[in-house]
Amino acid sequence: MSTPTPVPERSGSEHWFESQPDWFKTAVFYELHTRAFFDSSDDGTGDFRGLRQKLDYLEWLGVDCIWLLPFYPSPLRDGGYDVSDFLTVAPEFGTVDEFAAFVEAAHERRMRVIADFVMNHTSNEHPWFQESRLGPDSPKADWYVWSDTVHRYEDARIIFVDSEQSNWTFDPVRGEYFWHRFYNHQPDLNYENPEVGDAIIDALRFWLDLGLDGFRLDAVPYLFEEEGTSSENLPQTHEFLKRVRAEVDAGYSDRVLLAEANQWPEDVVDYFGKGDECHMAFHFPVMPRMFMAVRREEARPMVEILDRTPAIPDNCQWGLFLRNHDELTLEMVTDEERDYMYAEYANDPRMKLNLGIRRRLAPLLDGGRDEIELMHAILFSLPGTPVLYYGDEIGMGDNVYLGDRDGVRTPMQWTGDRNGGFSRADFAQLYLPPLMDPVFGFQAVNVEAQLRSPTSLLRWLQRFVALRKQHPVFGLGTYQSLETSNPRVFAHVRTHEQDIVLCVHNLARSAQAVELDLARYDGYTPVEMTGGTPFPAIGTLPYLLTFGPRGFYWFRLLEEPPDA
C-alpha cells in the first residue's frame, strides 16, 4: 500500500477553517474568565482543562469566538490586567500546553479564540519594571515613563477617579515618579523606546504561533504621551497599532485585532485606520444609551448615537455588547445623562464604581425577561458583532458586596449542586463565592435547569443566536434608522445585497402602535423571522404595527410573497 499524502503540520486555525479574512463580521463572540468558568483540578479556580470540557456547551450556544480575559501570571490586583509575564500562563490556569490544547479543541469545533492583551502597562512586579526601577543605568531604564516631577502631561485625565489622585506615583527605589494611566501598581510602558514595541510584538507572535486567533487590545488609546495634549489617541499610538497590524498580516491569516478604546465614535473610528489598523473596536457609547432608552421608553438616545457614528472601512466591524467584565461605563455620556443613569440603575451607592455602574445585565433590568429579550434583540439587530458576557445567557446576578469589579466576575453557575457545579473544592477555597441569593443564586439560576426548560432564557437565547447567524445581513448589512410616528418605537432597516431586514422594537412597558413610512418597499411582503409568518404586504400608505409591552418584530422584506 502506498503512503497517502502526509497531513501538513497543524498550527493555527488554518487547518479547521476555510480562509475568510472577515469571519469576525458575522460571528457571535462570548467573553469569559478562565478563572470563573470551570474548575477541573478541584482547587477552587477555573482552568484551561475545565474550559475545554465546556466547549460543547459554548458550541451548542452558537458561539463563534471566545474572548479570554487575561490569563497571564499576575499579582491579581486588577483582575489579571496587571501582567507580570506576557509569555506564559498563570500556573493556576494550567500550562502553555494545556492552553494550546484548549485552542486546538475549540478550533476543531469551529470556534476561534482571542485573548486579552495589555499593551499599555504591566504589573509593577513584572521583571521589566523591576529592572527599570533600579536606576537610569539599568538596561531597561527607559522601558517605563520616568520623571523627577509630577508636572508633566498634566492635561491627561485620571481614569480610576475612585482610587487614584494622580497619574504619577513616586518609586522609592529609583527615587523618581513613574507614569500610570490606571492603578499605581500598573506602570505604563514607554513606547517612545522602540525596544518596548519590539518586545510587545514578540509577545503577540508567541501566542499567535500557538494558534490564537487574535487579541482584544486593552486600553489602546494611552500608549504614547505628549505634552499639551490629553495623551489619548495620539498619532504615534496609531502608528504603532498600524505596525502591529502589518506584522500580524505578514505572518498570519484570518486573525483579528479588537481595540478597547473607550472614546466617542468619531475618535474610535481612527483605530480602524484605513482598514489597516484594528479590525474591530468596541462601540462604547451605544451601550449606556440602550439602557437609557429602555428606562426612558424612548428611541432617541440610541438613534442619536447611531446617527452620530461615522462610517467605517469595509473590512472593519464594531463590537457591541450589553454588559462586560467592567462596570457599565458612563464616561461617554453627558453629566446629565450620567445622573439619570445613576438614579435609575444604581440606587445603592455600592453599585457605582469610577464613572460607571458595576452590575450585570439581569439585575440592571430587575430580572425582567421581556426587557432582557428586548435588549438582546436590539443588540443583535445593530450593525456590529455582538459580544455576550458569560453568565448573562442564564441571567446570572451580581454581588455588590465584593470589591472592585469582582461582583460581576463570580463563578459560572452550572448546576444547583455544591458551588453551583463550578468546582468540587471546599467552599472556602473558591476564588470568589458563587451567588447564593434566592433570586439570582445558583440554586435558582443555572445551566442545567435552564437546559431542561424549553422556555428558559438560555434556550431562548440559543435559538436567537441561531436566528441571527442564519442571516449574515446583520453582520454585513448597512444600517438605516427609520422615522416613526411613535417616539417609543425604535425602527431600522438592515440591507445586504438582496437581503432586507426590518427591525422594530417597542421600548415602552405598555402596548404601543406605530406607523412606518415604508413606501419605498411598496409591494414587498414582511415575513416575521422567528416564526416565518407573512404579514400584510406593504403599500404606499403608512404601515401600521402594534406591539405588546417591550415587544419587537424582525421582518425579512421579500419582493415575492412566500408560498402559502
Binding site: 502506498s2 497531513v7 490544547a101 476543531e108
Partner: protein
C-alpha cells in the same frame, strides 16, 4: 486546452446545481466562482467552486474537468486512473465501472479492484472517512475497506481532502437490499446474521476507542451537561418538526403527541453516566454494511451524515447512537418491504433482529463506552432512537407522506412502552 477558469458563473452553477451532491437544494444560489485549482494536470483538472447565496453565505464544491474541457469525467479510465495515481497508487487503469453518485461524492470502480471516490461537497478540516479508515487499519480492524491512497490539499482557501482510493470489497450485496429481498423468501436471513452484525459493530467501536494516540480519536469523558445539551437539541427538533407538520390525516395519530415526546426526552435523558464518547460511524444503517463473499459484514462509508457540518460529523459521541441508527433501519426494512412489495415481515421479526444485534454487540463491547447499568443502556439507546424517529418524521412528512407511518408507529410504540 479549454480552460475551466474561463467558465462563467452561470455555466459553473449549471454544473453544480442539478447534481445529486448539491446540498443546498432549498436555497437559491446567486453566483459561483472557481477559487482554487488544487489539481492542474494534462489529464484532469480539479476545481474548487465557491457557490454563493443571496444571504451572504456560501458552500464549496469540487468539479472535475478533462483535458478537452468536459466536466464530470470520472468515468473516463484515464481520469480515474490519473486521480488514483495522484492519490499515491499505481494502477493499470484499463477498465472503469460506474458506482453512481451519492449525496456527497461520485465514485467508480477501477480495474475491478479499487474504488476511486471524488469528494464533492468540501469543508475545511480532515475528511472523516480517510481519517477513520486510517485509524481502523492501524488498529487492525478488517471489516472495513482498505485505504489505498488519498489526495489532499493544504489550501488556502481550504485544507481538505479531494480523492480517496480504497480496495474494492467483494460482496454478495448491500445489507439493505439483501434484507429487503430476503423478507420475501427467507425471512430468517437477517435474524441469523444480526448477532454477528452486533459483534462487528462492537469491534468497530472498540477499534475506534483503541486509537488513543491520536487526539481526534482518544475516548473522552463527556462533559457533565453533554446529555442535557443533546436532550435540549432533540427537544428543539420536536418542537420545530411538530410545529411545521403538514395537514395530513396520516400524521393524525401522532400530531398531538409532541408534549408527550418532549416529556419522554427528559425521562430518557436521566441516564446517569453515559460512558466514554468516541468517534463513531455517524450514519450507521443497513445501507452502510455489505455482506461479503466471505460471509461476513463489512462496514462502509465513513463520511458521516452528509447534511451535518464537518465538526459535527467528527464529533465524539456515545457509540449507542450508531446502534440506534441500525435498529431503526431494521424497522424501516420491514415496513419498506410492505410498502414496496406488499410483503409483510413475520411477526416479531424487527424485535428478533434488534435483540440479536444488541446482544451480539453487548457480548463484545468495550464496557467503558456504555452506561454501567443495563437500564441506563436501554434508556440511552431509546433516546438515540427517538432522535432518529424525529428526524425520520420530519423527512417523511415533507418528502414521502406515505412513509410517515414508519416513524409514527415507532413513536407510538415508544410512548406506549414508556407509559
Amino acid at each position: 486546452m479549454p480552460d475551466p477558469t474561463a467558465l462563467t458563473s452561470e455555466e459553473l452553477l449549471a454544473l453544480v446545481q442539478d447534481a445529486r451532491w448539491f446540498g443546498a437544494k432549498d436555497k437559491t444560489p446567486e453566483s459561483a466562482e472557481i477559487v482554487d485549482l488544487p489539481v492542474r494536470d494534462p489529464v484532469v483538472t480539479l476545481a474548487l467552486v465557491e457557490v454563493r447565496f443571496g444571504t451572504g453565505t456560501h458552500e464549496h464544491y469540487l468539479l472535475d474537468f478533462a483535458a478537452d474541457g468536459a466536466a464530470d469525467v470520472l468515468e473516463r479510465p484515464e481520469v480515474a486512473s490519473r486521480l488514483a495515481e495522484l492519490a499515491g497508487l499505481e494502477v493499470d487503469g484499463a477498465a472503469v465501472e460506474s458506482l453512481g453518485v451519492e449525496q456527497s461524492n461520485s465514485s467508480v470502480i477501477l480495474d475491478g479492484l479499487h474504488v476511486v471516490k471524488l469528494y464533492r461537497r468540501l469543508e475545511a478540516g480532515p475528511n472523516p472517512e480517510i481519517e477513520m479508515l486510517r485509524a481502523l487499519a492501524d488498529e487492525g480492524f478488517t471489516n472495513a475497506p482498505r485505504l489505498e491512497g488519498a489526495l489532499e490539499t493544504p489550501g488556502p482557501p481550504l485544507e481538505t481532502s479531494l480523492v480517496s482510493v480504497t480496495g474494492r470489497v467483494s460482496a454478495e450485496g448491500g445489507g439493505w437490499e439483501l434484507t429487503v429481498e430476503s423478507l420475501g423468501d427467507d425471512p430468517s436471513w437477517l435474524p441469523e446474521r444480526a448477532w454477528r452484525l452486533g459483534e462487528v459493530t462492537a469491534g468497530l467501536h472498540g477499534a475506534l476507542a483503541a486509537h488513543e494516540g491520536d487526539l481526534s480519536f482518544a475516548p473522552e469523558e463527556p462533559s457533565s451537561e453533554s446529555l442535557q445539551l443533546f436532550a435540549a437539541a432533540i427537544d428543539e427538533e420536536i418542537s420545530q418538526t411538530f410545529g411545521s407538520l403538514p395537514e395530513d390525516d396520516a400524521l393524525g395519530a401522532v400530531a398531538h403527541r409532541a408534549e408527550d415526546l418532549r416529556d419522554l426526552v427528559q425521562e430518557l435523558a436521566a441516564v446517569g453516566p453515559a460512558g466514554l464518547a468516541i468517534r463513531t460511524h455517524g450514519d450507521y444503517h443497513l445501507g452502510q454494511v455489505l455482506w461479503s463473499t466471505d460471509a461476513d459484514w463489512v462496514v462502509i462509508d465513513f463520511e458521516g451524515e452528509p447534511a451535518r457540518s464537518l465538526p459535527e460529523r467528527r464529533r465524539k459521541r456515545s457509540p449507542l447512537r450508531d446502534l440506534a441508527g441500525m435498529t431503526r433501519s431494521f424497522a424501516y426494512a420491514a415496513d419498506a418491504s410492505l410498502l414496496l412489495w406488499g410483503v409483510e415481515a413475520p411477526p416479531g421479526w424487527v424485535e428478533a433482529c434488534r435483540e440479536a444485534f444488541v446482544e451480539g454487540y453487548l457480548a463484545c463491547a468495550d464496557e467503558r463506552l456504555l452506561p454501567p447499568s443495563r437500564a441506563g443502556f436501554d434508556r440511552l439507546l431509546a433516546l438515540f432512537e427517538l432522535e432518529k424517529l424525529v428526524y425520520e418524521l420530519r423527512y417523511e412528512a415533507r418528502n414521502r407522506p406515505d412513509w410517515a407511518s414508519i416513524p409514527i408507529v415507532g413513536m407510538l410504540r415508544m410512548l406506549e412502552a414508556a407509559a
